[in-house]
């Protein structure tokens, strides 16, 4: 099976196969690995990795996170997504998009100020809503030129990444023809 994995801007193709009740082989970035897996607990795995005859064991911690998994190795966390899974997944709900084209907070936050009202025209980048988290404020901008169609939240609402706070109907850039 081929996997297309992405982590922090690095995309990697991995070919991997289960080879037993506790082992698999994988080719990652051109290197061959044979891995035996011991599940220590729900989140801790002990991997014994044979790479070209050299065998070393490592503890890794793996847990789910929105869009993929987080793997902690030696204190450093790696966020990894399976790009193929995202493409194939049927019926993705509206609102779960992680694309930049939405007015959505980067982390769980609280709505502090709403800077526009329904019907306002906004340019790309105009700040439309200010959210606060851990005593820091962030202002979220319009992802494109358009008209504010609906404001989906009110002051002091708790909001999460993926949630669309303001619906904006895109309008063509000035000078564009239909």
């Amino acid at each position: 099976m081929d996997y297309t994995l992405e982590s922090r801007g690095e995309t990697v193709t991995a070919a991997a196969e289960r080879t037993g009740p506790d082992r698999f082989t994988a080719n990652v970035k051109g290197k061959d690995y044979a891995v035996t897996v011991l599940r220590v607990s729900d989140f801790e795995l002990r991997l014994t990795v044979d790479q070209g005859g050299e065998v070393l064991s490592h503890t890794v911690f793996v847990g789910p996170e929105p869009g993929g998994k987080c793997v902690v190795v030696n204190g450093v966390s790696y966020s990894i997504r399976d790009l193929a899974l995202e493409r194939d997944r049927p019926g993705r709900k509206k609102g779960l998009s992680e694309g930049p084209g939405k007015v959505t907070p980067p982390m769980p936050a609280v709505v502090k100020r709403i800077l526009v009202k329904e019907g306002d025209l906004v340019e790309k980048g105009d700040p439309v809503i200010v959210v606060s988290a851990m005593k820091m404020e962030a202002s979220l901008g319009a992802p494109y030129r358009g008209q504010v169609e609906k404001i989906n939240v009110k002051l002091e609402d708790k909001v999460s990444p993926g949630q669309i706070l303001v619906d904006i109907t895109p309008m063509p850039e000035q000078g564009d023809e239909a």
């Binding site: 989140f43 911690f61 190795v73 450093v76 966390s77 193929a84 899974l85 851990m134 005593k135």
Partner: protein, 495 residues
């Protein structure tokens, strides 16, 4: 001794204080907000009182609610921790009026030392060296320009009513002063409700060295050596150590004596910390007094063997200090790393949310003061200090090695932490050389990005989880709604 004490705080420090109280056989009361209903600290106490909504003003800063909680539960004393109401003189007075002991200094000492310019004047009177600067705040550009000329550029514009870097600006040229003053004043007004600013001489790459003191109600006072807290990110300490690589016994004694003079001059009681800046030519200058227990107090406890929280409670109960200055000796070396819930890969943005899993390092010389647990929640409303990792070893080199090992054994899933950043700092050459100063991070780690030495192993970990998922892993193919099937136990299938 008190039979019941209320802890007016949350997170790791509330847990720390509750532990000390339990060891002293004192019954404990925790308080909590809506956001902390599942928090660790309230499960460590005998009783817990709900305060209100998550907003600090409705809960942890609400003096009346907290005092009512103490009265209703029969708590005889309140420990305020750090932050929140710990340096609020009004709160100390309200406690006194309600016949509840405030575990900390008297309101008068908090007031005297809390206002920076007033504290400076007091130090000058008592012969404690201070940084050349203005005695009173001023907004008059003419006054500021004249004073800056007298002090000598570069100068630092500072807020009179508070710290933490708010309302601070460095000015190197006379032409920049007016605008810097306006900006700093606005920031100070927003942060502290007081736009007063003053000027100080700006020191080049100083070390931040502070002295821990304890004063009882019988006229005894001791200092418990120093802590160096020069490793700061945006004026927030993140790594602290003791002893300071820059101090010899002579300088330590001088600074200790100056610290005691500083607190005695204000009629200080209980635990406090006198902060100094140590210039490169080894002159020390008074910065301020923190009239409370500090975040980094554990490193002092590790090298002296003294339980500072216990001392605080004993002093508040009227007991005399059992320590004499000659009893206080430092042994070995201790380092603390603050485990902040911020994402170092994303501009250190706060990373609140559910802590899916946490496994802290352990072993000889390792101490964890933590407020999080697997399955717990990190709320957005409070500062992101999840816990502290403290190590002790026989000397600095071993302490550094121990901290490096401990950080690499630390696992947190669900929220991001600055652990990779801390590890890089602790492993760095300048840190190992002890070449630390308050500009350390800007000088050696500007625009830091995490090094990812184990990315390949991480990909293997991802695949291992794919092939051998944990029992209750949600299925990503949408088949979860169907009846359990032997196909699912084989792991993910794709063609």
């Amino acid at each position: 001794m008190f039979s019941k004490v209320l802890v007016a705080n949350r997170g790791e420090i509330a847990c720390r204080i509750l532990r000390a109280l339990k060891e002293m056989d004192i019954r404990t009361v925790a308080v909590y907000s809506e956001a902390d209903a599942g928090a660790l600290h309230l499960r460590m106490a005998d009783e817990a009182v709900f305060l209100g909504e998550a907003e600090p003003a409705q809960s942890y800063l609400d003096m009346d609610k907290i005092i009512a909680a103490a009265r209703d539960t029969g708590a005889q004393a309140i420990h305020p921790g750090y932050g929140f109401l710990s340096e609020n003189a009004d709160f100390a007075e309200k406690c006194e009026a309600a016949d509840i002991v405030f575990i900390g200094p008297p309101a008068s000492a908090i007031r005297t030392l809390g206002r920076k310019t007033a504290a400076r004047r007091l130090m000058i009177q008592r012969g404690v060296p201070v940084i050349p600067g203005m005695e009173r705040p001023s907004a008059d550009p003419a006054v500021l320009a004249r004073e800056a000329g007298r002090i000598g550029y570069p100068v630092l514009v500072k807020a009179a009513a508070g710290g933490g870097g708010k309302g601070m600006r460095v000015v190197s040229l006379p032409g920049e002063l007016a605008e810097a003053a306006v900006g700093a004043s606005a920031e100070a007004l927003a942060a502290f409700g007081d736009g007063g600013i003053f000027l100080e001489k700006f020191l080049d790459r100083p070390r931040h060295v502070e002295i821990q003191v304890l004063c009882d109600t019988h006229g005894n006072a001791v200092h418990l050596l120093e802590r160096e807290c020069s490793i700061q990110r945006r004026h927030q300490k993140i790594i602290e150590e003791t002893p300071s690589p820059a101090l010899d016994e002579d300088l330590r004694q001088q600074m200790g004596a100056a610290a005691l003079e500083a607190v005695k001059s204000a009629g200080y009681v209980n635990a406090g910390t006198v902060e100094f800046l140590l210039s490169r030519d080894r002159h020390f200058y008074f910065l301020e007094v923190n009239t409370r227990l500090q975040v980094e107090h554990p490193i002092t406890e590790m090298v002296t063997g003294v339980d500072l929280v216990r001392c605080q409670v004993e002093i508040a109960a009227g007991l005399p200090l059992s320590l004499r200055q000659e009893d206080i000796r430092g042994r070995g070396h201790a380092i603390e790393c603050r485990i902040c819930g911020e994402d170092p890969e994303n501009g250190f943005f706060p990373s609140p949310g559910e802590v899916r899993f946490v496994k802290e390092p352990s072993g000889p010389g390792i101490r964890n003061d933590s407020g999080i647990f697997s399955g717990g929640n990190v709320p957005v409303e409070y500062d992101p200090l999840l816990g502290k990792l403290i190590v002790w070893a026989e000397d600095r080199d071993r302490a550094i090695a121990r901290m490096g090992r401990a950080l690499s054994d630390y696992a947190v899933l669900g929220v991001k932490t600055i652990i990779p950043f801390l590890a890089d700092v602790v492993a760095s050459e300048p840190f190992c050389q002890g070449d630390t100063h308050t500009g350390f991070i800007e000088e050696h780690f500007p625009g830091w990005k995490p090094v990812r030495p184990d990315a390949d192993l991480a990909f293997l970990g991802f695949l291992a989880e794919e092939f051998f998922p944990r029992r209750d892993a949600p299925k990503t193919t949408g088949l979860a709604a169907e009846a359990p099937s032997p196909w699912l136990s084989l792991g993910h299938w794709r063609l």
